[in-house]
């Protein structure tokens, strides 16, 4: 009888330790999955402005980001701002390229729409360049915000 009890106690102890081991493995896997999901949401938000928030059902922020960035890009192109390419050469050209690339898919739309090239000799073109760069940096900020929200840091 006492032997049976001790066997049962050992089984319970073993099953408890197994459960805690499973729980600890699961808890160590869960953050990795959520981290991967957060990174995917951040990348989605960069590629399509507002998508990172849309995937988290933050519709107001998704629409707000998409519209403001789209209007900034359209105005920038309409004002014949400079859409930098990777063959910029100097440091400022590369910085401009990185900023413009921040708009994700809109960068390629801007390049396709600006058929007549940039005209920075006039004030409009100069403003257009700033509009495009600001749209990119703003989208990077929005993507970072979506990533942080997915990690549960802020919302």
């Amino acid at each position: 009888m006492s032997e049976e009890l001790s066997t049962d106690a050992t089984t319970v102890t073993n099953s408890t330790s197994t459960t805690s081991a499973v729980t600890s493995v699961a808890s160590s896997e869960h953050p990795q999955k959520s981290e991967l999901m957060a990174i995917a949401i951040g990348v989605a938000g960069w590629l399509v402005p507002g998508l990172g928030h849309g995937l988290q059902k933050m519709w107001g922020r998704a629409v707000g980001c998409f519209l403001t960035i789209a209007v900034l890009v359209l105005l920038g192109v309409g004002m014949r701002g400079n859409v930098f390419s990777s063959e910029g050469g100097d440091a400022f050209g590369m910085l401009g390229y990185v900023a413009d690339l921040g708009t994700g898919s809109f960068y390629f739309a801007a390049r396709a729409l600006e058929t007549e090239g940039s005209d920075v000799a006039h004030a409009e073109g100069d403003y257009g360049t700033r509009f495009l760069a600001a749209a990119g940096v703003l989208n990077l900020l929005a993507a970072l915000h979506a990533y942080e929200a997915a990690r549960g840091r802020k919302a």
């Binding site: 922020r61 980001c65 403001t68 192109v77 309409g78 004002m79 090239g117 409009e124 403003y127 600001a134």
Partner: protein, 64 residues
């Protein structure tokens, strides 16, 4: 296509549009409630314009 249409805006119009769009984006990102967003957007827009006009005014003597 759009560039062919072209926008001809003055410096002030460009600055105001830029300030408005950035303020809207900041308001949507940093506030959750609609009333808080509106307040934030108005305040941010006001500060953008005030500082922009202020810097322009301060630089005026050096422009000639």
């Amino acid at each position: 296509m759009i560039a062919a249409i072209g926008f001809e805006l003055t410096h002030f119009q460009s600055m105001t549009l830029f300030a408005l769009l950035i303020s809207i984006a900041f308001g949507f990102l940093s506030r959750r409630r609609t009333s808080d967003r509106v307040k934030y957007i108005m305040w941010s827009l006001f500060l953008f314009l005030l500082i922009g006009v202020g810097i322009g005014w301060a630089m005026y003597p050096f422009s000639r």
